[in-house]
Each structure stands twice: as C-alpha cells, then as structure tokens.
Symmetry: C2
Amino acid sequence: MKAKTYSISDLSKEFAITTRTIRFYEQQGLLAPSRQGQTRIYSEKDRVRLMLTLRGKRLGFSLAETRELFDMYDSTREGDEKQLEYMLNILARKRADMEQQLKDIENLQRELASAEERCLSALSEVRKREKAQRAAS
Amino acid sequence: MKAKTYSISDLSKEFAITTRTIRFYEQQGLLAPSRQGQTRIYSEKDRVRLMLTLRGKRLGFSLAETRELFDMYDSTREGDEKQLEYMLNILARKRADMEQQLKDIENLQRELASAEERCLSALSEVRKREKAQRAAS
DNA sequence: TATAAAGTTTACGTTTACGTAAAGGTGAAA
DNA sequence: TTTCACCTTTACGTAAACGTAAACTTTATA
C-alpha cells in the first residue's frame, strides 16, 4: 500500500516543463498535491492530471476548460441531474471539436505530404543541375 | 477573367471573425490584400490563406509558425537548396506533431465516449430514483 | 558547520492574439 | 445635404500562460 509519490522536480523532469508551470497549474485548480511541511507531494492522481492537462494543451484546450472537465468529472459522482445534463452537453461539444480536428489533421497531413514531395523533387532538380555544372567546369 | 474579390466584412462574416482580426493577420504578414484607394481588396488567394490560418489556429499553430510555413511555401519556387532542406525539416517536425495529435485525439475520443456512457447511466439512475420517489408520495 | 541543492512565496515582466475606443474618410440613399 | 453603413489608422487595454528575479527555509553532504 505504499502509494508512489513524486516531487515537483520529478514531474518537471518527466514532462519537460518548469516547476513554475506546475505551481501555476495548481494555482489554477488543476492539481492539488498534498504537503509535507511546506513541500508539495504529488500522488499518481496528480501525475495523471498533469498528463491530461498537457495533452489538453496540445489539443488547444485552455487551462480553464481542462479544469472545468476535471471538476465535472469529479462532481459526476454526486449525480446531480442538472450537472449531468450540463456535462453531457459539454461532452457533445468536445466530441464535435475533436471531429473537426480530426478532419483538419487529415487535410493538413495530406498537404504536408504533397509539400514534401514537391520539395524533394525540387531538391533533386537543384542537385542535378549542380552536378551538371561541376561536370562542365 | 473577372477574378472574384472580397471585402473585409465579406470575409469576417464568412469566417465569423472580426475585421480587427483580419487586419491583425495582415499586420503579422499572413495576408497581403491589394488596395482600391484606402480600402482593402481580398483575392481568392487571400481567402485561402485566411482559411489556412484559422485551421492552423485550431491545430495549435501560432501565427508566426503559420506565417513561416507560408513564407517557405512561397520561397520554395526559388529552389534554394538550403531553404529546401530547411523546409523538409520543418515538414518532418510538423508531421510528427500531427501524428501525436492524432493519437491524442483518438485517446480523448475514447475517454469522452466512456465519460458520456457513465454520465448517461448515472442520469438514468437519478431519474429512476425520482420516479420511485414520486410513486411513493 | 558551511555550503550547496531543492524547495517555498511574492510579485512584477513578457508574449500572443486580439478587444476596444477614438477620430476620421467615402460613397450611396433618403 | 445629412445620415447611414462601411472603410481606414492609431493607440491603449487585456486575458492567458507562463518567465524571471528576489528573498527565504529546509535538507543533504563535504
């Protein structure tokens, strides 16, 4: 039952972020580490929340949005009807957002691939010409 | 040969953004509309760039990044070897980013779906209990 | 015991991406 | 002709997400 814990620098190293960032997330209500005296002690749950927060960032979520999702997730246990309906709405919106992002990414991937092709062929053109030039000198 | 053009408010309506935003993007070098006197005239190319800029935003690109991509795309025509190699590097990085985002989205979609399930079953629980309560009164 | 290494709080600074006036020009309709 | 509606520039304001520095405590180690 020895629950694994982490120091702030453990987490900052693992996720390649500054301790300032981690404290800031706490201040924004995203993390709630326990304390040992003054020092923050992070549980596995805190670590997961940090991961989720960072993933949220990669997906364009604001910290406030992520926090809202966390809060709702927690309050879902209480089973308030209004809350549940509200959460379902948010979930539907997020899912729509993700659908859009999927399309965006697929399109961009296609474009990046074709840009890469054009780039490579332009590059081989340049190199062919260089070679010809060297041969002629 | 009558090339279609757009006014600033045309574009602001189409994309549901303010004219301030559009002018700001121009100031950041993302758009380059021609002028008729003082008034800006947007070409189809401008419109496409605006679309791409907005998509970039949805995918977490900064305006500076998007601008860099535009600039590179344009300068690719000139076929400078260094430039081409540089662009290929950037393209590779972006593709890796997009791969990560794809994974992020797939994971989040799964989680949203399961959160929705839990939410719905919690909701039906609540309603069942309410019904029972009404019947008992 | 002193000195580094890691932790803390407080607080002002910075960048990005616009928002929000203020003050004015231009052309068409009433 | 005046009154809209739409355009312009200039410029200060702002929210989000940290960066950075100062000043201090606690713990480990030489």
